[in-house]
Amino acid sequence: MASKPECACGDTSALAGGKKRIIFPCAGTANVGLISNAAAFQLTDEGYGVSTCIALLGSGDPGLKRRIAEADEIVIIDGCPATCGAKIADLQGVAIDQYIVITALGIDKVYERDYTEEEVERVVSAVWEGKGRSVDEATISCDNPESDRDSGCGCRGNC
């Protein structure tokens, strides 16, 4: 008799897409930063990868650097075009395999703590779909003359 098939759910390593992934949410304090955290936790619960603190990456933690070296994919979820998460990764010399900017998914940045499950689901789906695998520099950069007006990142010209 044939054996029962195994389900890859709950396995965040080799069976889960054949990849070991680390997910860094920007963890900002505006709604989109909070959504980045919620999405990273949901992706962890769904077995996509393991959510890890972006601040730990910023601190240059050697243990995390070792984990990153062993990972197959690094996923950064930034809330807005200020691209703090991507910049931290760049400063630490970490290559990004998938990059999502939440405002680019049609979710407005507001300085409120409210967000919906639908907004979190939109981000989680985008990551599962692999929408952030082709990083478009133009969509993540805020280092341009437009930023002293309003590039949509919510920086009010300060980034």
Partner: protein, 80 residues
């Protein structure tokens, strides 16, 4: 011309749902016509020889097993 038959095999876990959703997005973005079916009967999954779910079959041929393929990969698979 026969309609492409796409089957997502899995018992209803989260990864099966994600694979099904990605398949729906890939089909929509390619603009192709296909019959998409969710196979959640464990006996049928066993009989099809699937050892690891979620799995994806196109016209009866197993293409992916034990992982959630992203939309880009699915598009390549669907384009043949």
């Amino acid at each position: 011309m026969n309609l492409m038959k796409i089957e997502v095999l899995g018992t209803g876990c989260m990864k099966c749902k994600r694979l099904l959703k990605n398949v729906e997005v890939a089909v929509r973005e390619l603009g192709i016509s296909a019959e998409i079916k969710k196979v959640d009967d464990i006996t049928e999954i066993i009989n099809r020889g699937v050892m690891l779910t979620p799995a994806l079959a196109i016209d009866g041929e197993m293409k992916v097993s034990g992982r959630v393929a992203d939309v880009k990969e699915l598009k390549e698979i669907l384009k043949g």
